[in-house]
């Protein structure tokens, strides 16, 4: 079968008609001819002239380690979802289906690289050493995330869509100003995560402009999961997202977001480009949101089950399992051990979540400002006294 021809908007009056295929603008599309893939959905390793060398050092042991991360990240995600259903969390934001995009890119990062997530990057958090229990407070309503963003170099979750692209651009400008760019081995880079919906936000556009203007060592990592809550990708763009990079003057690559090896290789390449001073770079990870937008959403109201079924065949974990079993003779012992570890992780998350303390009212007033604030100090004093007046009454 012929590859579908990409529609190129050379004539400013033209639009793609219904019978023209713009590869990758529909959830049911294949990724198009430029999609980078190293591991097929069937678990076959396929060559890629450009990116093979960024995966050449990956041993069977490394693949096992990636597999373990994928499984544990999925389990952490499913536990979060269940804890919401059980009433322990107010909300959960599922990443189901996006494990490979997150683990592949997350594992490419060096400890000194900086990472700016949106709010679905539980798998990247995992790769940065942020324990899944540290995400729970956000969704239980006890805090806004408890991990140390300085030590982990994993910025707090950003919930306003696209804001973090500018914050990441600024941070990466700082890396350049501090002369941390120019050497493959000692250079630093920043990675910024956002979704397909975010690409319509001004801040993402401005982030692209700023990163380009200052040659910032910044990898823009767009997880195109095909849906912005209920709105499909073709409402956000006329052209495949990775092609937008060209208009800003930096390279864009579309990678199979369900292929952990390809995501690892392409992100390593992108980070190398940034560390050596050739940033920024845009990566579009072509993937799929297998679950709803959040636990408050119902995806069956706006998309067909057929589409989801299609993507089940491209599962990011199954292909690694098949590849390990068939090509590297990895046996049931390993897979069972990972499964057991996932069970332990789930149990640990459940126990942790249920034991999370209710924050006291004084927490409301803490760290609004670095310096003293008479306004906040007075309100804290008055409100705590109000609380105390009830305790006196009971006594």
């Amino acid at each position: 079968m012929d590859e579908p021809q990409a529609w190129i908007p050379t004539d400013p009056r033209s639009r793609p008609s219904h019978d023209q295929v713009v590869a990758g603008l529909k959830g049911v599309d294949e990724g198009g001819p430029e999609l980078v893939q190293l591991l097929t959905p069937e678990g076959e390793r396929v060559p890629d002239e450009r990116f093979d060398r960024y995966a050449a050092d990956i041993t069977a042991e490394d693949l096992c380690s990636l597999y373990r991360d994928l499984v544990l990240v999925r389990r952490a995600d499913r536990e979060g979802n269940s804890l919401q259903r059980q009433g322990e969390l107010g909300l959960w934001v599922p990443l189901l289906g996006q494990e490979a995009a997150q683990v592949g890119s997350g594992r490419a990062l060096a400890p000194e690289d900086m990472c700016f997530p949106s709010y679905r990057e539980h798998g990247v958090a995992w790769c940065r050493g942020v324990d899944p229990t540290e995400l729970l407070g956000i969704f239980r309503g006890t805090d806004h995330g408890t991990w140390d963003p300085v030590a982990t170099r994993f910025h707090p979750y950003t919930i306003v869509i696209g804001n973090q692209c500018l914050n990441a651009a600024g941070y990466a400008m700082g890396q350049r100003f501090e002369s941390r760019v120019g050497d493959r081995d000692t250079g630093e880079a920043t990675i910024c995560y956002f979704g397909d919906g975010a690409t319509s936000q001004g801040d993402v556009h401005e982030g692209f402009v700023w990163a380009a203007a200052y040659d910032a060592p910044l990898v823009f990592f767009c997880q195109n999961n095909q849906w912005a809550i209920s709105v499909p990708l073709d409402r956000q763009t006329r052209v495949p997202l990775y092609q937008r990079a060209r208009g800003y003057g930096f390279p864009g690559v579309r990678v199979d977001g369900n292929d952990v090896l390809a995501c690892l290789a392409v992100t390593r390449w992108a980070l190398d480009e940034c560390r050596t001073g050739n940033g920024p770079v845009l990566i579009e990870a072509f993937t799929y949101r297998m679950d709803s937008h959040t636990t408050s959403d119902d995806a069956t109201r706006y998309r067909l089950a057929d589409e989801v079924e299609l993507w089940k065949l491209k599962d990011p974990i199954e292909r690694v399992r098949v590849h390990l079993a068939r090509r590297h003779g990895v046996g049931a012992d390993f897979f069972d051990a990972v499964e057991a570890e996932a069970d332990e992780l789930g149990e640990r998350m459940r126990a942790f979540c249920r034991a999370m303390p209710q924050p006291g009212p004084e927490r409301m007033f803490s760290e609004v400002y670095a310096d003293a604030s008479p306004t906040v100090d007075r309100q804290r004093e008055e409100y705590l006294a109000y609380h105390a007046s009830f305790a006196d009454g009971e006594g």
Binding site: G170, D203, E206, V368
Partner: protein
Amino acid sequence: MPTTMARALNDGLRAAMERDPKVLIMGEDVGRLGGVFRITDGLQKDFGEQRVLDTPLSESGIIGAAVGLAVRGFRPVCEIQFDGFVFPGYDQIVSQLAKLRYRTQGRVPVPVVVRIPYGGGIGAVEHHSESPESLFAHVAGLKVVTCSTPADAHWMIQQAIVSDDPVIFFEPKRRYWEKGEVDAGSDLASAYPLHASRVVRPGSTLTLATYGPMVKTCLDAAGAAAEEGHELEVIDLRSLSPLDLGPVEDSVRRTGRLVVVSEAPSESSVTSEVAARIQQECFFSLEAPVLRVTGFDTPYPPSRLEDEYLPDLDRVLDAVDRSLAW
């Protein structure tokens, strides 16, 4: 020697940059041109393009990138070219700049200063004469200050830069070229506190509380009132968030009368807050209701009408008369 406010700000910025190599200046046209008001004149020449950044024309970008630079350990001082242009950056100011410290419970401070020339009186086109300070004073996590004299401009900008909190720094653009004495020889630590209001003219008949460009207007009004035997006490609020109303309360307990003056529209504003708090704290001292003299609750008008819109000496004295006649 008397110095203009523009020069005092320039000197203050220079001193801050010499004091701390992490201080950056960023904004539209702030480098080679020195800013449309020349507040950053000569700084890029002396500190280089990596410390004085001519940025893309992108206000959300200026604030958003400044937040990222602050996370990295820099102390960015952003210039927004005119008051009415800040709104593309308002999302970043409210959603990130104001909240990042609270979100991380102090782990990620964001010491960013956003300088905004504000207010009317220069005959400008739309969006160049607004007073949006209340929109920032309402946001928890931000500090909002405004200077009224060259001396305050010189020290307050430096104090804002050393603060670990984000500070929105409003500069009364029509006062940029008015002169005053600046004692640049004294040191930052002994400067008048950033978040303290100050009695700038003592009096016993009535209290005028004001800030920014209206301080001079109120001082002029007090001078005129003195000729009729009324001694008005004028208080420059200086810090709009947090407000320092202690000196206003002390004053009102003596005078029993308060008029609050600002260019900004009146509803849900800094002047509303001052009125509400003073009636709460000084209820039994008040001889008359707290009155306000402000801009109107309209968009800023075409500039041929701005003399009607902006509070002036006569409108201030009219309110003083109404208060005294109560």
